[in-house]
Amino acid sequence: MSTPRLVEHFFRHEYSRLVATLSRRVGVQHLEAVEDAVQSALMTALESWTVAGLPDNPSAWLFQVAHNDLVGELRQRTRRRRILDENGADQMGAPETGPEPLLAGEVQDDLLRMLFVCCDEAIPPESQLVLALKTLCGFDVREIALRLFSSEANVYKRLERARNRLREVPPTIDELTAMQYAARLPAVHQILYLLFTEGYLSSHAEAAIRQELSDEAIRLASILAEHPAGKVPETSALLALMHLHAARITARQDASGGLILLADQDRALWDQKKIQVGLTWLADSARGEVFSRYHAEAGIAAEHCLAPSFEATRWEKVVECYALLEQIAPSALHKLNRAVAVAEWQGPAAGLAVLEGFEPPSWLAGSYQWAAVLADLHRRCGHDHAARRYRDVAVKSAPTQAVRVLLQRRLQVAEFERR
C-alpha cells in the first residue's frame, strides 16, 4: 500500500477554503473556533489518510469532519453560556442541520468574501496582511514571520488586533453589503499588491519561499477578477503587473542565488507564456476611463518584457509611465526610478537633473537604492568623488549579501573599466 500524491499546497489551500466557507456559515466572529476546527480536521486527515488511503473526495471529507467538529464546539459553548445566563439568547450561528453540500462556485465566493473581510477598514493594513496570510494562504504564525522578516511575537500581535476587531462584528451585519464590497476594493487591491511585492521585490535570500507569496497573490487576484465585486480595470491591471513581473522572476537570479541586473539578464529565460497572459490582462485593463497606479506599473513592466534587449528598451515610454505613476501615487521612490529611466534614455546627466535639488525623505536617503543610483549616475558623469561616497553608503546599507555582492560588482567593474 502506498499513499497517493496530493496536489501541491493541498493542505494550505484546503485550509483557506475551509476557513472561508465555515466562517461564512457560522459568522466571522467565530474565526478562531473555525481555524481550530480546520486545523484539527487536517490533522485527522493526515492520520487517517496515511493509514487508510485517500477518500474519494478529500475536500468533502475534510469539510464534513471540520464542520462536525465546529458545530460540536459551538453547541458546547452555547450550552455553557446558557448555564451561565438562563435568559441568554442563542446567538451562536451554528447551523442546526448537517452540512449542506458545497455548491460549485460557492468556495470561490467564500474565499473572495474572506478577502474583503480581511480588508475591514477598522483593521490596520499590516494586520490585514497578516490575517490574509493566515486565513487565505494557510500559513501559520512562524511561517508568516519568516516571510515578512518579522518576529513571531509581532506577527501574533498583528493577528490579535485583527481578530479582536472581527470578534466585535455583530452577527447581524456580518453579511457584507454591495457598498462595503465597493468601499473595500481599493484595500483589497493594496493587500494583493503588498502580498505580491513581498514575494517579488524584496531582496531577501530565501527565493523559493518568497515566490510562494507572489503565487498566492496571483491566485487570489485571479479569483477577484472572476467575481462581480472585483471585475474592474484596476484588478486587470494588477494581474497584468503580477504576470509581467513573475515572467522575469527566474532570470533575476544566477545559479548561486545572486541577483542579476536587468541589463545582464538572459531574456531567453523570461517566461513567454506568462508575458502573454500579462499582456492579455493589460489589454483588458484598458477598458473604461480608469488609469490607476497599477496601470502605470503594468505599463512599465510591459515595456521591459517587450524590449528585445536592454539597449532597445523604449525608455521614453518607461519614463512616461513613471511620470504618470508619480502623479497618481506620489512617492520619492517613483521619482528615483524615473531618474534611472531618464538616464538610460537621455544620459546620466539628465538622470541626475531629475533629482537635482530634491531632498529625499529619510527612509529613502538612508537606503541602498538611493545611494546606489546616485553612485551610478555620478560615476557615469565622471564625478569620482561623489560616486565613491555614495558607493560606500550603498554597500554599507545593503540589506543582504546578495545585494551587497551585486552592488560591489556593478560599481567596481565600472570603476575598473574607467582605468
Binding site: M1, S2, T3, P4, R5, L6, H9, F10, F11, R12, E14, Y15, Q39, L42, M43, L46, E47, W49, T50, V51, A52, G138, F139, D140, R142, E143
Partner: protein, 114 residues
C-alpha cells in the same frame, strides 16, 4: 518472517517542548514523507494498525478501570511490521515520520507465534 508489534509511546517530560501544532504546509510535508516511508518499507508493513481509543480491563474481579487510564495516556497507536530481526523492525519503526521524535517514541516488541 517474524512479526513485531510497534506501539507509539507518548514520552511526556516535565517541561519538555509542548509540541507546536504543525502548519498546513508542514502537514503536506509529513504526508509526503509518510508516503515515501511506506513505499520504502512496503514489504515490512503488515498492518498499519491505528490509534487506540477507549478501553476497559476485563478481569474475573469486579474492579477495574485500573491500568487502562495510564495506557490511554501512554500509548497513542500501534502497527505490526514483519522483519528478519528486531534490528530491522527497529529500522522500519525509526524511519516512520513523526513516530520517533521529541515527545514520542516507539516500543518494538517481537510477537512469538507458534
Amino acid at each position: 518472517m517474524p512479526k513485531y508489534l510497534c506501539m507509539q509511546r507518548n514520552l511526556r517530560t516535565a517541561d519538555g517542548p509542548q509540541g507546536q501544532k504543525p502548519s498546513p504546509a508542514q502537514m503536506q510535508e509529513m504526508y509526503a514523507q509518510f508516503g515515501a516511508w511506506q513505499a520504502k518499507f512496503k514489504k515490512n508493513l503488515v498492518d498499519m494498525g491505528g490509534k487506540l481509543g477507549q478501553g476497559k480491563l476485563v478481569t474475573s474481579q469486579p474492579a477495574a478501570d485500573g491500568p487502562f487510564v495510564e495506557v490511554k495516556e501512554l500509548v497513542g497507536g500501534y502497527m505490526i511490521v514483519s522483519a528478519e530481526s528486531l534490528d530491522e523492525a527497529i529500522e522500519v519503526a525509526r524511519g516512520c515520520p513523526g513516530l520517533v521524535g521529541p515527545g514520542s517514541g516507539v516500543e518494538v516488541i517481537e510477537i512469538h507465534t507458534p
